[in-house]
Symmetry: C2
Subunit: 217 residues, 2 copies
DNA sequence: TAAAGAAGTAACTAGTTAGTGCGTTAATTG
DNA sequence: CAATTAACGCACTAACTAGTTACTTCTTTA
């Protein structure tokens, strides 16, 4: 009676979809790596959360580190792509710079996993990111965009000259990143709820002020 | 000749020394936790590096997390203590602020373990630091010091009023911390050796400029 | 439609890891 | 000097963990 094809009432039909499974694994992995770091993440937990078999992880990503690398690369590509969609070149220099500062802040706020992934990667001395050429290319675009905003600002007599676009880029990231990645220790050290709605509002205003004063003549 | 016991010439110094063993464990643990994070650190490796038996770690610190907590607390106490030794109250507002920016940068540069420990603690939502009252007290002193510098600067007509000392404190830390903790990914993203001597020199100048422009009238 | 191949699974392995039980040895004290 | 206390070490374990083997089930296509 083994050849019986009639489906049992409680049995779900097994749907096969490689892309969907891959995506579920990547999504679960992103959360797990962000929550526990590369070392603390558990492959079994990722498989369970993704509703996939652990074997599939090794089938699609070769190893735990291979999975981490893909997660990290995707995360960088996502923020770089979102930055390009801002079309800062269509705005006047001041508005463009403010929009970038605001965007960076809001992206970190809405995607806290990005911060933890980057921290984790730095703990491992960027060994995974080193292998990625596409990340370099897409980052170059961002630096060029900031350089262009600065140039236009100088020409318009709004910004002082001599500001290094790389340093500016780093600083725009820094004032948001540090506040948010260290929000837990920060809340204790400064005895203030750094994640309260008005605290966040105050911080983004402070960051805009910081960057604007930095470039203004 | 006061403390001189009846020590025989050829005799080795004390083989048993609880304080020395504790100190060796803490030192080894700091390095191991900084290098691999709390999750990635190995208790066996710490014991080996400390030239102590693993049993001693559990004897003195109860658990891996107990050891981490002590390491973290010591790290915070060290930077807070160093900050107090700057005697910023003896300097004029501008010099005091610049000295603090420079000190913060140099402390991070010389003590990169501090950055990784703080990152690790934030990955764990500050569960260890939460338990420490002494950290809050010593941090309060720093915030008060910055508040006092700001006040003196405003009175002297050098600084604008309305700058939140907590936000300023956070920003002073941010511009150094982000650059250094993300030096590995940063070197790839910005295609520039961020740790080259002239790059470091350029960054500290940029940071001073950023903070000074932020508070100046 | 049959065969190939891709998607998916359960159970396993070999190595690792935090934490301990219990005995030994050095220093202190009555 | 004996008794006590504290420092120290060996060897173990129970649980965990990345990665694999060997298999079944579904989908595509010649």
């Amino acid at each position: 009676m083994t050849g019986e094809q009639t489906e049992k009432p409680g049995r779900k039909p097994r749907i096969r979809d490689a892309e969907a499974t891959k995506a579920r694994i990547l999504d679960a992995a992103k959360k797990e790596f962000a929550k526990n770091g590369l070392g603390g993440a558990r492959v079994d937990d990722i498989a369970e959360k993704a509703k996939a078999n652990k074997r599939m992880i090794y089938h699609y990503f070769e190893s735990k580190e291979g999975l981490f690398q893909t997660v990290l690369e995707d995360a960088y590509l996502d923020i770089r792509s979102a930055e390009q969609k801002l079309h800062l070149e269509d705005l006047d220099p001041k508005a463009a710079l403010e929009k970038l500062v605001r965007f960076t802040w809001e992206y970190y706020l809405k995607n806290p996993e990005f911060l933890t992934l980057v921290n984790s990667e730095n703990l491992h001395r960027a060994k995974h990111l080193k292998k990625s050429e596409i990340i370099k290319v897409s980052s170059r675009k961002l630096v060029n965009m900031v350089a262009s905003i600065l140039e236009r600002g100088v020409k318009a007599g709004l910004f002082r000259s001599g500001v290094d676009p790389v340093q500016l880029n780093i600083t725009i990231a820094a004032v948001g990143y540090y506040y948010l990645t260290n929000r837990f220790t920060g809340t204790i050290i400064y005895e203030r709820d750094l994640m309260a709605k008005d605290a966040l509002e105050q911080r983004i205003q402070f960051n805009i002020e910081t960057i604007m004063r930095l470039v203004t003549v």
